[in-house]
């Protein structure tokens, strides 16, 4: 009998001085913050799950130097580097399997460690066809946006509205001024400009998951009521880039329903429209019209203004949960929502996807 799992503590570091701080310090602060938020100590944790990004951060087996800062010495540790959000998936799965009662999940992104983040992205491309072609995240994202635009067309005003909404929300949440127009005249790959793409930041994020009595006894648990993850094909030429089929599969598995809040990873302004459609929140080609009466989308600003690399998807999950826990700070939706969706994609043009459904009431496991 599977016992439901909840997020009972969470924390992320500040972005303002992160680039000048050591990675281990950021990780330790996030770990300590999540434990404090959960009212726990590291001795209470059975398992630590990380998601590492060796190439981006210039460390082979990055879990080695970071495990201590994440409290993993003397503990069961696993790194799930396929995506930051997969660390959440695996922590959740371990608790469903009855392996312990509390799992600490820690992810981070420190793109500033890399002189040029696009260079390691190039190494993500297989060496025979894609790498000589120069494929990186930006080009793959532009190919996705161009396929969507060709199929459905794009309203420039809708794109500008997304830029503005995300910048305004992030300005409130991070308590800083974020301009929506930086890079708006810099073309990066049709139809996208620099302003349509995520802006990198450095951040460490941690969450404490619990099951059974420790979850029920927690203050403001955000129950994980559904989870789905899936992968699409790797070869871009064999995919319909105007859609995110993996995200659609993951959404169906998790059960999106009618959430109050959605924290969704947008690979670009245009990609965000396709992602909302894949979640089933808008008809195909109509993602840009999603406004009013529906769920609140990215009240924290999402990843377009603040994108901590490999951890960006995990941050969406945590922010969705924090809404239900009433701990979303300047992004808090009022009244406190009862259900939220965290939705992410990763890999070239959203090859992989994960969707989590959070609820304030325990609803079992889907």
């Amino acid at each position: 009998m599977m016992e439901p799992v909840a997020i009972v503590g969470a924390y992320h570091t500040d972005v303002t001085d992160a680039a000048s701080r050591k990675l281990e310090d950021l990780i330790f602060e996030a770990t300590d913050g999540a434990l404090r938020d959960a009212g726990l100590q590291i001795a209470d944790i059975d398992t630590v799950v990380l998601s590492t990004a060796d190439q981006l951060h210039g460390r082979v087996i990055e879990a080695m130097v970071t495990a201590g800062a994440a409290g993993a010495v003397g503990r069961d540790l696993t790194s799930v580097p396929s995506a930051g959000e997969h660390a959440l998936v695996y922590g959740w799965m371990r608790l469903l399997a009855g392996q312990g009662r509390r799992v600490l999940v820690v992810c981070w992104g420190k793109p500033s460690e890399s002189r040029d983040p696009h260079h390691p992205e190039l190494v993500s491309a297989e060496p025979f066809m894609m790498r000589p072609f120069g494929l990186n995240e930006t080009i793959a994202t532009a190919l996705q946006a161009s396929a969507y635009t060709k199929r459905y067309g794009i309203d420039p005003q809708a794109v500008e509205r997304v830029r503005q909404d995300r910048a305004d929300a992030a300005s409130r949440y991070f308590d800083m001024t974020i301009s929506p127009t930086i890079g708006a005249t810099e073309d990066v790959g049709w139809p996208l400009t620099r302003a349509d793409l995520p802006r990198s930041c450095d951040m460490a994020i941690a969450a404490v998951l619990a099951s059974g009595e420790p979850a029920k006894a927690a203050e403001a648990p955000a129950w994980i009521s559904g989870m789905g993850w899936a992968t699409d094909k790797y070869d871009l030429g064999t995919r319909d880039l105007s859609q995110f089929p993996a995200l659609h599969v993951a959404a169906n598995k998790a059960g999106v329903g009618t959430p109050d809040v959605v924290e969704i990873l947008e690979i670009s302004t245009v990609g965000g429209f396709a992602a909302l459609e894949a979640l089933g929140l808008a008809e195909s080609g109509l993602g840009a019209r999603l406004a009013g009466g529906g769920p609140v989308i990215n009240p924290s600003g999402g990843n377009l203004p603040m994108h901590p690399g490999n951890a960006a998807g995990f941050l969406r999950m945590v922010m969705a949960a924090q809404q239900l826990r009433g701990r979303a700070g300047g992004a808090q939706v009022s009244p406190v929502p009862r259900s939220a969706i965290g939705a992410t994609v990763s890999g070239f043009a959203g090859q992989s996807a994960t969707v989590a459904r959070f609820t304030t009431r325990e609803e079992g496991v889907r």
Partner: protein, 398 residues
């Protein structure tokens, strides 16, 4: 808890280099072998777990995304595991969680490595260490474990000949294993005559850089009962992590002792506890212990509880732990010292353990093998995984 069985295994021959296949095609070879062994088709796995250690060894970052089309994983759940050399062992445990959680009935754990793709594996592995000090030292896995061997020798009085006897035993086993990379039998004199790399480790004490693939298919007890599949059951899993800093493994304020394998011992104990093993020397008949160097096997045998600390080399000299001896047999496949395709090395340990308890290990079969232990080690002897398998779901007795 839901019981989980290993219903199919597959491994290629391990060699120095393969130029006839890409990395995804190599992974597919392991997948095909394991699915055929389980009597399944490419469409049958419900989820995928891919062990892949340092990306730089195959020269492609996030190579798990590249294999999706080739192994038929599109539209399905897939995650990658990386705990360095322990990745294969950790990935098996991740696969176990997929099934034990009740979320899936049939899951495949599949991977490959092509260590020869990197010009120098040790140059890649040097990047494991911190940028400011240890990387410049220059530490690599050979120099790091030479320090451990020196401490073990000083603490317990072992010699280079004692290490050589580990290689001799395992090469003798590998000669019986058609998949092993290094299969030529050696004498103690042969090992002693090999080139010194970092005292006291010589070339004959070390594993090769291997290329190859491996996969296992995991299934729920319900599935096994429903289909009548042959299964080796995963009875216990355990992991543990040690401090990254080797300076914290020596001296009066040490958190561990770099001579020993105390953190591995904890991981094994956790697996034993779940499996109900209290007297491993009597209850475990075979062990596939992750030991890339001869010196590592000495303290790994002790961590497994097969003898006391500082005793293993004397017992090996008396013929224990070898095929045909009384008591647990260690590394009947030849072990890591004879084949080390890093990403799947820990997976192969579990795979060989499953073959042993189901009586399918052919010439390397241990008589009466009902319970087996498989371990894996990653990082700078930092991440430890232990898995206990058996051929039954009854209480494990002596």
């Amino acid at each position: 808890m839901r019981q989980v069985g290993i219903i199919g295994v597959g491994q290629t021959d391990f060699v120095t280099r393969r130029t006839d296949v890409t990395y995804p095609e190599l992974v597919r070879e392991g997948v095909d072998l394991a699915l055929a062994d389980a009597g399944l088709s490419i469409d049958d796995p419900e989820a995928y777990v891919i062990p892949l250690a340092p990306d730089a060894l195959i020269g492609v970052s996030n190579g798990e995304r590249w294999v999706v089309d080739t192994i038929g994983a599109q539209g399905k759940p897939l995650v990658r595991i990386n705990t360095g050399g322990a990745s294969g062992g950790t990935a098996v445990q991740a696969g176990y969680m997929h099934v034990a959680s009740g979320l899936f009935d049939v899951v495949i754990v599949a991977g490959a490595d092509r260590v020869s793709e990197s010009e120098s594996a040790q140059s890649v592995l040097n990047k494991m260490w911190d940028v400011g000090y240890e990387r410049l030292f220059p530490l690599n896995t050979i120099t790091m474990l030479a320090l451990s061997a020196q401490l073990y020798h000083a603490k317990y009085g072992a010699t280079e000949e004692d290490m050589a006897r580990v290689t001799v035993k395992n090469r003798g086993h590998a000669a019986l294993n058609p998949h092993a990379h290094l299969r030529a039998e050696l004498s103690v004199e042969d090992v002693m005559a090999t080139r010194m790399l970092s005292w006291p480790l010589k070339l004959g004490d070390l594993c090769p850089s291997s290329t190859g693939a491996a996969a296992i298919v995991l299934a729920s007890e319900d599935y096994v009962n429903r289909t009548g599949a042959r299964a080796a059951w995963i009875r216990g899993v355990g992991q543990n992590s040690e401090t990254f800093w080797m300076g914290d493994r020596v001296g009066p304020r040490a958190e561990g002792d770099h001579a020993d394998a105390d953190a591995l011992q904890v991981a094994i104990h956790r697996a034993y506890q779940q499996a109900g093993i209290t007297n491993p020397r009597e209850q475990v008949q075979v062990a596939e212990l992750y030991a890339p160097f001869s010196s590592v096997e000495l303290h790994a045998i002790e961590a497994a509880g097969f003898c006391g600390k500082g005793e293993s080399f004397r017992r090996i000299a008396e013929g224990e732990f070898a095929l045909g001896s009384d008591g647990p047999v260690v590394n009947p496949s030849g072990g890591v010292i004879c084949s080390n395709p890093i990403a799947v090395t820990g997976l192969v340990r579990v795979l060989e353990a499953a073959l042993q308890v189901t009586g399918r290990a052919e010439a390397r079969q241990v008589d009466g093998a009902n319970v087996a232990l498989a371990t894996a080690i990653g990082g700078d002897h930092q991440f430890h995984a232990a898995t206990v398998v058996s051929n039954h779901l009854e209480e494990i007795v002596s």
